[in-house]
């Protein structure tokens, strides 16, 4: 590998990733603590997260070794394989907590729906890189079909969160690329209609319940509204400076549910207060800006669209998780990148950022 590539690496992005990952680890250490009568016990989440981080770093380095443009060749094959896996899940998948999302291959379980997001992302980037013309009806519907096909199977599992993420990434990339005015306006009308249809036909009762309890958490404070109430209390009680590292009562005394995964931010908010939260949000914004700058500096359309897709991948995850934890959105099981504990999520995050670095460091290496 050419050493010149390293001189073009996106250092600000790496700095953001490092900082976020370390903050996440620190927070996870606190979130793993449980106060008992005779002291604090700390579970091993933060240690595992270190291991996953190292593995993720490995994945990142691997993605740097090849030219990202090669992905274009595999876009379709990858897409069809993922689709096949999704069908396989529907047939022989493992049922965990009433949802069939996992598939077991040679002792390793994984969720093909995670891969589906990446597959659709790469394929969309390839299809949009054809030219810079705003999308007409034909190409727009082509992309929609590509997005909805895996969505059908993912909704079947059922997994509303992942299918929603998938469509949001697709949508973000399409809007970034641009479409004809008439298509855009039609979408503005169609999306609310689809939402209504989803509410009455496509949703399960528990999903409706979540949305209702989001709108009025007081309805059922011990049930579905509990997450929202306790999370708001945790964050709000942090006030300006927070209660201090490992001093959060909401998390240490287990009032806060899911405190090392989806609601890890609430632990952070409680212990570091408004100052810490604004710092963290700023850091996330810098992180997104670093990805964004890679997207506009990319020397070809495919690379740029790829990074834009990844941008949206992170943007939506951060936005949805933050909104959910601070009570701006119903509870959806989407983790916060780097802050929430999660093995496969860490691997996927680092791999995707590997692609971003790959695109950005090759921005001077060829002429377009």
């Amino acid at each position: 590998m050419d050493m010149r590539l390293f001189s073009h690496i996106n250092w600000p992005l790496i700095a953001c990733i490092t900082l976020l990952f370390l903050i996440g680890l620190l927070n996870l250490y606190s979130a793993s603590g449980t106060r008992l009568e005779d002291g604090i016990i700390v579970s091993s989440f933060y240690q595992k997260q270190i291991v996953w981080g190292v593995c993720g770093l490995g994945c990142m380095l691997v993605t740097l070794t090849f030219d990202y443009r090669r992905l274009k060749n595999f876009a379709w094959i990858f897409y069809w394989i993922v689709l096949a896996l999704l069908i396989l899940v529907a047939l022989i998948g493992k049922n965990v907590y009433g949802a069939t999302r996992w598939i077991s291959l040679g002792g390793i379980s994984f969720q093909p729906s995670e891969l589906a997001k990446i597959a659709v992302l790469i394929l969309t980037a390839r299809l949009l890189s054809h030219d810079g013309q705003p999308l007409g009806w034909k190409r727009f519907f082509g992309l929609l079909v590509i997005g909805f096909l895996p969505c059908v199977f993912i909704l079947q599992q059922p997994d509303l969160g992942t299918s929603m993420m998938l469509l949001l990434i697709l949508g973000g990339m399409i809007v970034f690329h641009g479409m004809r005015a008439v298509v855009f306006r039609s979408c503005l009308v169609a999306i609310p209609c689809c939402g209504a249809l989803l509410w009455f036909v496509g949703m399960h009762d528990y999903q409706r319940q979540r949305i209702l309890s989001f709108l009025n958490p007081g309805l059922d404070p011990r049930g579905t509204g509990y997450h929202i109430l306790q999370s708001r209390i945790a964050i709000g009680s942090g006030q300006l400076w927070g209660k201090g590292f490992t001093e959060g009562t909401q998390s240490q005394l287990r009032f806060l549910p899911e405190r090392h995964s989806d609601f890890a931010l609430a632990v952070f908010g409680e212990e570091w207060g408004f100052v810490g939260c604004v710092t963290l949000v700023s850091l996330f914004c810098l992180f997104l800006l670093a990805i964004f700058s890679s997207a506009i500096q990319a020397k070809d359309r495919f690379g740029s669209m790829l990074v834009v897709g990844i941008f949206f991948y992170f943007f939506w995850e951060i936005l949805i998780n933050l909104s959910m934890v601070i009570g701006l959105m119903p509870v959806v099981g989407i983790p916060l990148p780097f802050i929430s504990y999660g093995g496969s999520a860490t691997l996927v995050n680092f791999t995707l950022l590997g692609i971003v670095l790959n695109v950005s460091m090759r921005r001077f290496m060829f002429k377009g």
Partner: protein, 632 residues
């Protein structure tokens, strides 16, 4: 990876072939090994760039504003909520003070009992928990549910509701072995009140019972399930007896597991009350009254200390302390004999001839000479009306002393006519009638001293002279309580001091003023009482070993005699409700002991024939040597 670097270079060199790019790949190598290269110069779409920048900007501001709202604007509110989440207050009950008699016999005591509480926040399956409580306690499920529904609205979710009050040992051990399967339930130790003397002191002690909503609203220290005084001394001395509860601050986690406890306030037990009452004397009075309905007051005239205060019939106050059943309560309430009433302070009667003790004082203070006499022919005429003396044959010429000794009515008719009702009213009120004595018991009655204005107000009729006649011998409208009579007689003996009747041994004597009488007046009346008890109507109480004094009274309930009936009807032939009330107000002095004893028997008949013997029995207990020897 050198091969990766080369393709871009070759691409750059073969620029003219770019249009055939796809084809050339097919010839040279499998297409998936080639690096696809875009030809056109890439410029990011302007709209897209702006779109992303706006997205990031909006994201930042919306999220930061929301954090500001939660953490800064409503931060204090949520901080309070977080504390409420984990901090609970737990009260430590303070033992209620005991009530003891003069010789430290226990009149009201605490005993431990076991109760079952439910904390609804910790309860996972409420319906089956309630069903289980119903099974344990043997109460119907509907009743348990009703109790729960009533109590749950009054308290916070983490506060315990007392579901079963008093569990016996067999049940405690059964519940103890099963309770681990029922989160939210807990066996607690309660203190219960018990009254070992039962009926003997029930009117004085009153009782405690579970606090009601109204009382809780008035007193923030009270919490559900607390016992408070509802009647008698338990009510009157509530503050002193209750003491103050201790407070634990308990930190819990989300599963209600206790993390730590710290005591914020220590509990302080209530103070014991030592009464002036003497349990054995009380019992002797109780026995003296026997089955009669009435009351006895025994008082020390110098200090106002009440040594016995007996009322019959009585009720068992333990019923209330244990939670009275509906049936028992109905029975007590519907009893026409009113066993709940403390007759010594809450019942008002016409005083009858006992009132002459007051009349005598008034006459002397109004300048009537002790030798001034009135002729009693057995009646007095007032217009067409005839007012009879109790002795129809007449007393002959009577001065004040003899009028008292023989209880001559005509003397007082004539004298009262001379004085007028206004003076009588004023004097009676100055002597403490028509107002409570201030004894430390709730719901004391005032009695009634009639006046012209009162009659006008009450009946819309003018005061007539006949009313004055009646008032002079304690009939008509005049009403008094036995404790008022006892207090008045005490004042005569102690030199005119009007004292508050004392129930608490340790309290200092509390004076409420003086009788509007000179020393000679008092001495005269006391002497006249002594003569009455020696040769007069109160002979029945006379003793060789003590100096005694007394005055009897037979208060008419129905105006039989005044209606002019000539024939005296024998008491036992009359309907119970129309029979006369029997009074006797006495005092006795032996060595350094001095007592006032007032006996009142409702519808008993003659004062000397019914009340007198009762008083005699009381003095037998007080003054007889062998009994005092065996005591203490």
């Amino acid at each position: 990876m050198p091969d990766e670097q080369k393709p871009p270079k070759t691409n750059e060199s073969t620029e003219p072939l770019l249009t055939d790019h796809e084809e050339s790949q097919e010839h040279k190598a499998p297409s998936w090994l080639k690096i696809p290269v875009e030809q056109e110069q890439y410029q990011p779409p302007r709209g897209g760039v702006i779109f992303l920048q706006v997205l990031i900007g909006v994201f930042f501001f919306v999220i930061v504003i929301r954090f500001w709202y939660l953490q800064m604007h409503k931060g204090e509110y949520f901080a309070r909520q977080a504390i409420e989440n984990r901090m609970r207050q737990e009260y430590i009950l303070a033992p209620r003070g005991r009530i003891l008699d003069l010789h430290d016999n226990i009149l009201a005591d605490n005993r431990t009992a076991y109760g079952l509480t439910l904390v609804r926040e910790d309860c996972q399956d409420l319906p089956s928990t309630l069903a289980q409580i119903s099974e344990w306690s043997g109460q119907p499920l509907a009743k348990v549910q009703e109790k729960y529904a009533q109590d749950r609205i009054k308290i916070k979710p983490y506060e315990p509701i007392l579901m079963i009050q008093d569990i016996n040992f067999a049940l405690v051990s059964r519940i103890e072995s099963e309770i681990h399967a029922w989160p939210g339930l807990k066996i607690v130790v309660l203190t219960k009140r018990s009254y070992p003397e039962r009926e003997l002191f029930s009117h004085i002690l009153g009782y405690v019972a579970e606090v009601n909503e109204q009382e809780m609203r008035k007193d923030p220290q009270l919490a559900m399930g607390d016992l408070v005084g509802k009647q008698g001394l338990e009510l009157e001395m509530e503050k002193r007896l209750r003491g103050s509860k201790g407070l634990y601050e308990v930190e819990v986690d989300a599963h209600a597991k206790v993390m730590g406890k710290s005591m914020r306030d220590e509990p302080h037990g209530g103070r014991d009350l030592k009464l002036t009452l003497d349990r054995d004397l009380q019992e002797a009075c109780w026995e003296a009254l026997g089955t009669a309905t009435g009351s006895i007051v025994v008082m020390e005239p110098e200090t106002g200390k009440v040594r016995a205060l007996v009322t019959t019939p009585a009720y068992d106050n333990n019923l209330f302390a244990e939670g009275i059943s509906r049936k028992d309560w109905q029975e007590l309430r519907n009893n026409t004999n009113f066993p709940m009433q403390n007759r010594a302070i809450q019942s008002i009667y016409p005083p009858g001839s006992v009132w002459k003790l007051l009349m005598a004082a008034m006459l002397l203070e109004s300048g009537v000479g002790v030798h001034e006499s009135v002729y009693c022919p057995g009646y007095a005429r007032l217009g067409k009306q005839i007012f009879r003396c109790w002795k129809h044959s007449g007393h002959g010429s009577m001065d004040l002393e003899h009028a008292l000794i023989h209880s001559c009515d005509v003397y007082f008719y004539i004298m009262a006519e001379r004085m007028g009702i206004d003076r009588l009213e004023k004097f009676a009120k100055q002597c403490g009638f028509g107002q409570p004595t201030g004894i430390d018991l709730p719901h004391e009655r005032s009695g009634l001293v009639p006046s012209k204005a009162w009659k006008q107000r009450r009946f819309g009729k003018q005061w007539v002279r006949g009313d004055t006649y009646n008032a002079s011998i304690g009939q008509g409208f005049t009403l008094v309580t036995p404790i008022q009579i006892a207090n008045y007689v005490s004042s005569l003996l102690n030199g005119g001091k009007m004292l508050k009747p004392q129930l608490l041994e340790k309290e200092s004597v509390e004076s409420r003023g003086n009788l509007p009488c000179k020393r000679e007046t008092l001495d005269f009346i006391v002497n006249a009482m002594h003569r009455t008890a020696t040769v007069g109507t109160a002979r029945v109480v006379s003793r060789r070993d003590a100096i005694m004094g007394g005055k009897t009274g037979t208060a008419q309930v129905v105006k039989l005699r005044m209606a002019g009936g000539n024939r005296r009807v024998r008491t036992k032939d009359m309907l119970y409700r129309t029979r006369d009330h029997a009074w006797i107000a006495t005092w006795g002095k032996k060595k350094n002991k001095s007592y006032v004893v007032v006996v009142m028997v409702e519808h008993g008949g003659g004062g000397s024939s019914v009340a007198g013997p009762v008083a005699k029995k009381v003095y037998q207990y007080l003054f007889d040597e062998p009994k005092t020897g065996s005591k203490s």
